[in-house]
Symmetry: C2
C-alpha cells in the first residue's frame, strides 16, 4: 500500500494522499447522519463511526482511512466532562485550573472508557483491509492541556499559559497525566488494528520555541518512545513551522507540515531520514482548478524524487469546501505524481 | 534617542523597548476614557488621541510613543463604512467581494479624510519632542484587504482567499487601490511629524509562501520603496516567521518578529544589515516575574552585542495583562541590557 510505503520512505507508484478531517461536514452524506445524531453519539456508536470513516473513501481515491473520532474523547474517562456547543466548538464543563483540579483527574483506561472506538477500528479494518491502511490518532499533550485548562477553543491561551508561566509544577503534573492517557490510548488503537497513528498538536504553534522545548516537546517524545516500533507514527505540530528543527526531535517517523513553509525547506529542517506530510493551504480548495493544479505541482516539484512524502492539506478541510474540488485534488495529486 | 539609534543599527546605552498596543485597554486611565467615547470618537478627537498616546509613557520608561489610531481608519475615505461591534471587533458594513465592489472604491486622501490623525501627531510631537520618537503606522495591504473582503476579523480567510484563488485579477486591483492609499497615508503621517513608521501585516501569516510572494509581498515592497529614506520603516509580518527570508525582501529597515522563532535565528534569516524588533510571547506578562526575567534574558542573550535590536512583545499586549508586570518588563529590559 503506497501510504505505508511512503511512511517507510520506500518508492511509490504515485504520491499517496489523505485529507485531514476527510470524514466531515463537507460531505452531504455526513451531514445527513449529523442531523440525526450528535457528534459524540456518532463517535460512540461503532457502526456509525465506521460508516462515517468510510464515506470519503467511497467518493475519492484516498490512500488512507482515518478513524472517525475526536481528540477530546479520552477526557470523559479522566473525569473531565465536555459537550459540543451549537456552534460546533467543544465546551469543557469544569476547566482544570488549579493543583487540586489536576490532582482530581482520574486515570484513563481506553478499553473501559472508549471501547466503542476500538470496536469501530475493528469494523473499519474488516472493510478496508488490504486496500488502504487505517490511521488511529490522538491529541498531543499540549493541545489537550489547552482544551482542558482553557475550557474549550482559545484565541490567546491565557489560562493555560498563565498556569505554565506562574505555576509550572501544576502544569507539568497535568502534562504527565495526559501523557499516560495518550500512551495507553494510542497503544489500544494499535492493538485494535490501527496501522498508523497520528499525534495532532493542533495548538502548539502558540508557544515560543523556548517554551515548546520545556513544556510540550518532552511529553511528545515520551509518548512516541513508548509507542514506537509498532506502527509508523506521524506527528503534526500545526503552526510550529518556524521551529521545525525542534519539532523534528520528537522521534516520529513522519512529520506533518502546515502550509506556511515550502515543503522542501521544511523537509531540510526535519531531516531527510524522516517522512513529511503536507502541505497545501486548505483554502486552495476554494479556488479555480487551475489554481489548485498550479499549487499541487509546486509542492510535487519541491519534493522531487525523494521517497517519503504523503500529500495532505496543511490543516483540516473546511465544512464549506466544494466536493468537486476535493475529487479534483485527489486525482490531480495522483496524476501529476504518477511514476511510469 | 536610543530607539532611533537602534533603527539605524547604531550602538545604544540600553536596548530600547516599546509595546504593541501600549496605549490600550490594559490601562485603567484608557478604560476611563473608553467609557465615555467610542473607539472611533477617541481616534477622531486629536486631543483625546494625543492624551491616550501619552498615557503609557507616563507610567513606564518606554522608548517610543505610537500614535493612537486604528489600521482601518483609511477605509471610510475609500467608501468602506465600518464600526466596532460591542465585542470589540470591527464590522465592515458592506464587504468588498466583487470586481464591481472594487471598482466602486474611492481614492483615499489622508488630509481630507483623516485630518484628525495628522493633528494628533502634531500634538504628541510637541509633547515628546527630544525625549522619545513618535511612531506612525498603517495596516499592510493584505491585512487591510482581509478585513475589507471578509467584512471583519476572520478565522479561515475564506472570502479573501476565494477571491485570490478564483479571481486573482480582482484581488490584485483591490491590492493596488490599497497600496495607493497606504503610500499617501504613511507619507502624510511623516509630513505631520511621525519619526518612524510601522506597517502591520497582522494576518499575512495565513498565506503560504507561494501566495505571499505573489499576492502580498510585491505591494509591501512598492509601499516601502515609495516611502523609503524619509524615516526608518518597520515591517511586521505577524505569523510569517516560517517565511522570513521572503518577508525580508520587503525593503524595510527593521523587521518585527513574533515569538514563534528564536530572535537570533530570525535575524540570521532577515539579514544582519537590517534591524529586528521583538519578540517576547505577550502571554509571558501573565506569569511570575521570575518567568518574565528568564525569558527576557534569553532574548537578550540571543541578540548579544549586535546593534539594531528593539525589544517588543511578539504581538499586541492583551487587555487583561497585569500592569505591574508591564512595568517590570520595561525596567527589566533596560536593566539587563544596560551597557556600562
Amino acid at each position: 500500500m503506497r501510504f505505508l510505503d511512503a511512511c517507510n520512505r520506500r518508492p511509490v507508484d504515485a504520491t499517496p494522499i489523505w485529507i485531514m478531517r476527510q470524514a466531515g461536514r463537507y460531505l452531504p452524506e455526513y451531514r445527513a447522519i449529523k442531523e440525526k445524531l450528535s457528534f459524540i453519539e456518532m463517535c460512540e456508536d461503532p457502526a456509525t463511526a465506521a460508516e462515517v470513516t468510510l464515506q470519503p473513501l467511497k467518493r475519492f481515491e484516498l490512500d488512507a482511512a482515518i478513524i472517525f473520532a475526536d481528540i477530546l474523547l479520552p477526557l470523559t474517562g479522566m473525569g473531565i466532562g465536555f459537550h459540543f456547543a451549537k456552534t460546533g466548538g467543544p465546551v469543557i464543563e469544569k476547566p482544570v485550573r488549579s493543583a487540586a483540579d489536576v490532582a482530581g483527574l482520574r486515570p484513563f483506561d481506553p478499553l473501559e472508557h472508549t471501547p466503542y472506538l476500538m470496536e469501530a477500528i475493528k469494523l473499519v479494518r474488516a472493510e478496508v483491509d488490504g486496500k488502504v491502511p487505517l490511521i488511529g490518532f490522538s491529541g498531543a499533550p499540549f493541545t489537550l492541556a489547552s482544551y482542558i485548562v482553557e475550557g474549550g477553543g482559545s484565541k490567546n491561551y491565557e489560562h493555560v499559559k498563565t498556569m505554565m508561566f506562574s505555576d509550572p509544577g501544576t502544569f507539568i503534573t497535568l502534562m504527565e497525566a495526559i501523557t499516560e492517557a495518550v500512551v495507553d490510548y494510542l497503544n489500544a488503537q494499535i492493538d485494535a488494528g490501527a496501522q498508523v497513528v497520528q499525534l495532532f498538536d493542533s495548538w502548539v504553534g502558540c508557544l515560543s520555541p523556548y517554551d515548546y522545548q520545556r513544556f510540550a516537546l518532552p511529553y511528545v517524545q515520551q509518548i512516541i518512545a513508548r509507542v514506537k516500533g509498532r506502527v509508523p507514527i506521524i506527528y503534526f505540530a500545526n503552526g510550529a513551522t518556524s521551529m521545525l528543527t525542534h519539532v523534528a526531535q520528537a522521534g516520529a517517523d513522519v512529520y506533518g507540515v502546515d502550509w506556511r513553509i515550502e515543503i522542501d525547506r521544511a523537509w531540510d529542517q526535519i531531516g531527510h531520514d524522516k517522512g513529511v506530510q503536507g502541505n497545501l493551504d486548505p483554502l486552495t480548495l476554494f479556488g479555480s482548478q487551475a489554481a489548485i493544479e498550479e499549487r499541487v505541482q509546486d509542492i510535487l516539484d519541491r519534493v522531487g524524487e525523494r521517497p517519503g512524502h504523503i500529500f495532505n492539506l496543511g490543516h483540516g478541510i473546511l465544512p464549506t469546501a466544494p466536493i468537486d474540488n476535493v475529487k479534483f485534488l485527489v486525482d490531480t495529486v495522483h496524476r501529476l505524481s504518477a511514476r511510469s
